[in-house]
Amino acid sequence: MSLTAGPEAHGPAANSAPGGPVSAEAVTLRQLPERPQAAEPAPPFQTWTQPDQSIWALFHRRGPAYLLRFRGLADFEISADGRSVTCWPAPGTPEASVRHLYLNQALPLALSRQGRLVLHASAIEAQGVAAAFLGPSGRGKSTLAASFATSGSRFLTDDGLQIALHGAQAEVVPSHPSIRLWEDSGQALLAASAPAAPPVHYTRKTRFLAGEGLAFCERPCPLRRAYLLGPGLAAQVSIRPCQASDAFMGMVRNSFLLDIGEQQMLTRHFDDIARLANLPIHYHLDYPRDYARLPEVRAAVLRHLADPEDTP
């Protein structure tokens, strides 16, 4: 008999996920003129830091609403119900950077404030069903999504995966029709002429836009498999069952939740993750991080998706 400590409830690190057409309907963005970032009267209730420990984002309460501050970049005020976001760029922040921050950071948090389950995961559609790839930044979620979307399948999101629970079924809600990739992945998977959003000054990732060469699925899809990505230590593609408790803790570590101090929302989040963890759809996926091996990875996932003996 043992008690193990799990992670604290928290949002994921920076480099989080975009929203999309469906998300845009669920949240209203109002962008106001740029202004200096005046000091807030109270200290932040949460802080995100970069790997080098520099501050990336500060979370403040403003009455029932929330202020999400990216120092030197922009402020986003998220309404108490998560249905509206007001943005004030900091002086000199390019429009493309403001847009990128909104899609990747503010929007997933606003959606979580609505009680939606939003995970740090990518998802693809193949054979009419969805497969999700869950893991921290750098595990290859976006690269996998792009690999599938350039090879006959379609992507639903490259991060900020929204899941709708309907009884014992889970459904993936499509997100913004774009995938952010580092330069090496972009060069390996896409043509030099692939359409992309304007560059963002604070990151070297490129946001590639959905189109003929990067197929996007704009309809919700039933979630057939959820893969927790390993660190890339496997010499061969490896897919093995994931215990419900491991799936649960993995989702806690890789989910968005704006205010972990708000107990009603935290309770709902806990219930949703437990329901999702109890579905027989969770697996560990690891593979060598080698672009030349991606066809093997895709083939293994597609076979696994289609396996009738392993269908929930």
């Binding site: 008999m1 008690l3 604290e8 409830a9 101090g261 107990q263 935290l266 963890a277």
Partner: protein
């Protein structure tokens, strides 16, 4: 803590069955914990209102374990739960 103590689970401690294990959320701290299958069964007995001595008796009957071993293991778990704020005495 001893088996003669009376224990309660704080109101802001939630638990859900996930697979064969139980996951616990302490709303006050936002921390999550996991209990293995045996720990999960003990937690279930506690939520049903059984006190430590009765939990010990149930464990002995269900798992065919020596009473002394059951008592030692149970006390260790209960003390750990208490240390994490997931259980209160009295």
């Amino acid at each position: 803590m001893t088996l003669s103590d009376s224990v309660t689970i704080p109101q802001d401690v939630l638990a859900r069955q996930v697979g064969e294990e139980t996951v616990i959320l302490d709303l006050a701290s936002g921390r999550y914990f996991g209990l293995d299958a045996v720990g999960a069964r003990i937690w279930q007995l506690l939520t049903e209102g059984l006190q430590p001595a009765a939990v010990r008796d149930a464990v002995v009957a269900e798992y065919e374990v020596e009473p002394q071993q059951a008592e030692t293991d149970l006390l260790r778990l209960l003390r750990e739960l208490q240390a994490q704020g997931l259980l209160r005495i009295g």
